[in-house]
Structure formats: structure tokens, C-alpha cells
């Protein structure tokens, strides 16, 4: 399943282990690590060099709780120094249990409260369009329980109806939504006009293929299924 041995992925458990003190969110961190890796390693055109370019790709971490995997990937890819991980959440650190873009500019959004990333992503797509940057990808990562928030329903409907081929929503599904989604999560997006894919959230090649699915004139939703939240 992991074809990218020795590319840096094998570094992530060590980097994550540098961060301690957030056991409550440990599961949340581990559920996203493979999606985050594939996005930054193979899908997004975001590098430490172009991270402030106006026409860059955007990654909006909506699921801002449990950001250890996120920080680990950012460290591995050279956006932040590894040394920063050890004292995360201290008063001196700019790495908190929820990312703050005013402290950490590589984070496109400050997040933690559920239901904000996808709506912000839609505004970002509108803004990039108006600026003439029609090829920049905007990818947001949400949790399956996060879809309970009504703000996401507002966003799913509008993005689907308007089109928005620049937009991708990745839903990491660890079956944690209280009332569930009959017919599966992808169906919520399909009925609103999204292209959807549901894949094994631990399979890097499957994730890569799904995240690069052509979706002309439509937004793309990739449901990455991982083990049920304990």
C-alpha cells in the first residue's frame, strides 16, 4: 500500500511522536496522516518557495483539531523546522492544538471550530476566480462528523450548483458522525452535483488516483475511509 517508502513518509511517526500532550486528539491526528501526506507529496503544488504566491494551490485544514499529522507533514516538507514540534502548545510556540494562521502563515486558515473550512474554501475559489487565477486548486480536509454542521450543507449545495472545478473536499471518514449519513457520505455530495470518489484512506495510490480524478465543471469530493474511531 505504501509505495513511497524512503520518500519521507516513514519519518512521520517519529515527527508525530515529538509532539505530546494531546492524547485526546491522537485518533484525529492519525486518521488524517495518509491523506495529508499524499496531498503534500503528490497532489498540491505548494512548496516553501511558492507558499505566498497569489496563484498558488491552497490547502485549508478544516478539521483543525488533532493537527499533529499536519504539523509533522509540514515539518517533513520543510515548511516548519522539526525543532518546533517538541515544544508545541507552549506559550512560546506558534503550534497550538488548533492552528492559527496569524501565528503560522503556512496554515491557510485558522481552524478548530467545525464547519468553517469548506465555506471558506468556497469564498477562496470565488476570490481566485475574480483575480483570474482559475487553475489554482483549493483543497479542504473535513471530518465525517464535521459534516453534521449545517454550514457544510450550505457549502455543499452552492459549490455543486455553481460548478467550481477548482474545489476538492476530502472527507476523512472514521465513522464518528453521531447520526450517520444514510447511503454513505459521497451521496450527500452527489445529489448536489459533485463528482465523488470513495477510497481506502490508508492506500496512497488509491488516494492519489482519487484526488486527481478529472472533474471538469464540478467540484470533487473524495471520501477517505479509515478505521472506525475508537
Amino acid at each position: 500500500m505504501t509505495t513511497d517508502i524512503k520518500t519521507g513518509y516513514e519519518d512521520l511517526p517519529r515527527l508525530i511522536s515529538l509532539m505530546t500532550g494531546d492524547e485526546k486528539h491522537q485518533a484525529a491526528a492519525e486518521s488524517t496522516v495518509d491523506v495529508l501526506w499524499v496531498l503534500y507529496d503528490r497532489v498540491l503544488d505548494i512548496t516553501p518557495e511558492n507558499v505566498r504566491e497569489p496563484g498558488r494551490d491552497r490547502f485549508l485544514l478544516s478539521k483543525g483539531h488533532g493537527p499533529m499529522a499536519y504539523y509533522a507533514v509540514l515539518a517533513q516538507k520543510g515548511f516548519i523546522h522539526e525543532e518546533e514540534l517538541a515544544d508545541w502548545t507552549s506559550a512560546e510556540s506558534r503550534l497550538g492544538h488548533h492552528p492559527d494562521r496569524a501565528r503560522l502563515p503556512v496554515a491557510e486558515i485558522s481552524s478548530g471550530s467545525l464547519g468553517h473550512g469548506l465555506p471558506l474554501a468556497i469564498g477562496t475559489v470565488f476570490g481566485l476566480r475574480a483575480k483570474g487565477f482559475r487553475d489554482a486548486k483549493v483543497v479542504t480536509l473535513v471530518g465525517d462528523a464535521e459534516l453534521d454542521e449545517g454550514s457544510n450543507q450550505e457549502a455543499i449545495a452552492v459549490a455543486g450548483r455553481i460548478g467550481m472545478p477548482q474545489l476538492t473536499a476530502v472527507v476523512v471518514d472514521n465513522s464518528s458522525a453521531t447520526h450517520g449519513w444514510p447511503g454513505g457520505i459521497a451521496r450527500r455530495f452527489e445529489v448536489e452535483g459533485w463528482t465523488t470518489r470513495t477510497v481506502d484512506g490508508r492506500d496512497h495510490d488509491a488516494l492519489h488516483e482519487a484526488l486527481t480524478t478529472p472533474h471538469p465543471d464540478r467540484p470533487l469530493a473524495v471520501v477517505a475511509t479509515v478505521e472506525r474511531k475508537a
Partner: protein
């Protein structure tokens, strides 16, 4: 033209002249901006009746480097989507110009659902906001245009109530000088405050910008008047600016009377705006009685 019509006309002009500006709507006023939307389909964005998404869309636009104007009725703009105002603008450290219409009870027959007298108090819980409360359509137009440059967070509160004349200018403007007290009239409250105090020896100050609060202006007016009695006349919740007055006069023993929309009860009448003015003690006669009682 009333303030809302003036705003919509000015917004359409700004869209024509500034390619960085986008207007975000939730159906309210979409018909009036339909022509502008046809000219600027990428920059006039109606998300339907989705106020949370409307506010987050503004945040996303600002993150992409645009200057968003967000507009709907005050109850839906500030109250329904308040967490989006707090997080998707303030916490993201980006700006927008929020423009409400409806004020406290501009739609008296609509009842409580369309009233938001707590809007300014709510915005006041967030740091870094500029709050404009114009008292005349020409002030509304000017304040909108002045809010476009930069990246600040601005709340522009439009009302169907207005004064006879525009008073363009920054900070507290002195419209009358007296020695027994200082009356601060905000936005549409000016004409009635002037009428209410016509036979009183008081200073009357006016402002269409209530945040940041012109503390220095108030201190010098209090000093000039030789009186430490201050009356606030605000068109939203009574006492919304009481803390700003207390801060401004923290070195000076003073008394404060806060007039505005009642906090102690939900007024469940329909009728005309004038009926609500009476119910809240915000008609000229009630203001006169309150001020005279306070200064006695």
C-alpha cells in the same frame, strides 16, 4: 433615496471602478443588484438564503486578496452568522465591510424576527472593528466609500430613520455648546436629540462612527462644558457605549445616562416606527423628559 438605496447604488459604482471589490448577498437586495451582477458575475455573489456561507464566503474572498462587501438585514448579518463573523473574519485576521439594513426596528410590522438592536453590542465583543452608524444617506455613501481601501473590519449599520441634514466628518462633532451636560447623539438619533434639548443648556455632540470611540473628543467636550454629566442617545441597545464613555472618563468622576433600545423587555408591538420610538423612550419628548430628569 433612503440609506439602503443609496448604499446599493454606491456599491454598484464601486464594483465598476474597483476590480478588487466583491459583494456577497443572501438573496436580500439581489434583485436591486441584478444589473451589477450581470456586469460582474465573478464579483456579485448571491449564495441564496445561507447567511453562514455568506459570511464565510467573505472570509474566503478576503483570504484570496479581495475586498468583500457583505449585505443583508441586521438580524441575519450579525446574529445568525455570528461565529462566522468572529472566526472567518476576525480570527482569520482578514477584513470585510458588513452592511446591514433594518437597524433596530425599521420593519416594525415584521416583529422581533427582523429586529436586531443587539447588533452593535455583539460586534463590540470582537476586537478591531470599526462601526459606522450613519444618520443620513449621504453619510452612508461616504462611509461606504471610505471603508473600501485597506483590509479593516467594518460594520456599516444602515437605518430607515435619518436626520434632515448630513454631517460628514470624523469623530465627535460639536453641534451645540452648553454648560449643564454633554449629550452624545449617534446616527439617526441626532435630530430628535437636538429637538429634545432645544431649551436646555447642554453641549450636543454627534457621531456617525461609534467604534473606535472618540474618547479624546468626549474628554475635551466635557472639559469645555464644565460638566461631568453625559447622556448617550444610541439607536440600538441602551448602554452599548457605556463602557467606552467610562473608559474615556476614567480619570474624571462623572455621571452617565444611557438611552437606547430597552434591554429589560422584549417589546412585542407591531405598528409604526414611531410606536417603537415611544415604547423605547426614544422619541424627542421621551428623550427630553429623561435628560431633564437626569440633569435636575
Amino acid at each position: 433615496m433612503n440609506m439602503r438605496e443609496t448604499f446599493l447604488e454606491a456599491a454598484a459604482e464601486v464594483l465598476d471602478t474597483d476590480a478588487n471589490v466583491a459583494v456577497v448577498l443572501a438573496d436580500i437586495s439581489a434583485a436591486q443588484l441584478a444589473f451589477a451582477a450581470r456586469k460582474h458575475p465573478d464579483r456579485v455573489l448571491n449564495v441564496g438564503i445561507r447567511e453562514q456561507l455568506m459570511m464565510s464566503t467573505a472570509g474566503g474572498l478576503a483570504l484570496a486578496g479581495m475586498r468583500p462587501i457583505v449585505h443583508t438585514f441586521s438580524s441575519f448579518l450579525v446574529e445568525r452568522a455570528f461565529e462566522q463573523v468572529k472566526l472567518d473574519l476576525g480570527h482569520q485576521d482578514v477584513g470585510a465591510v458588513l452592511v446591514s439594513s433594518g437597524a433596530s426596528y425599521d420593519m416594525p410590522t415584521a416583529g422581533r424576527t427582523h429586529q436586531a438592536p443587539g447588533d452593535v453590542a455583539l460586534i463590540d465583543t470582537l476586537p478591531g472593528w470599526t462601526v459606522h452608524v450613519p444618520g443620513h444617506p449621504e453619510e452612508a455613501r461616504r462611509l461606504l466609500l471610505e471603508s473600501i481601501p485597506g483590509t479593516g473590519r467594518v460594520y456599516l449599520r444602515l437605518s430607515a430613520q435619518e436626520n434632515a441634514k448630513a454631517h460628514l466628518g470624523a469623530g465627535l462633532q460639536t453641534l451645540r455648546e452648553g454648560g449643564r451636560g454633554v449629550v452624545v447623539a449617534v446616527g439617526p438619533m441626532l435630530d430628535r436629540a437636538l429637538e429634545a434639548t432645544a431649551d436646555l443648556d447642554v453641549t450636543v455632540l454627534y457621531t456617525s462612527t461609534i467604534r473606535p470611540f472618540d474618547a479624546a473628543g468626549l474628554r475635551s467636550a466635557v472639559e469645555a462644558a464644565g460638566s461631568n454629566d453625559v447622556v448617550l442617545v444610541e439607536p440600538y441597545l441602551a448602554g452599548t457605549s457605556a463602557h467606552a464613555v467610562a473608559d474615556a472618563l476614567s480619570e474624571t468622576p462623572h455621571r452617565l445616562l444611557s438611552l437606547g433600545v430597552r434591554r429589560d423587555a422584549e417589546v412585542r408591538i407591531y405598528g409604526e416606527m414611531a410606536d417603537h420610538d415611544l415604547a423605547h423612550g426614544l422619541d424627542a419628548g421621551s428623550i427630553a423628559l429623561s435628560v431633564k430628569e437626569f440633569l435636575r
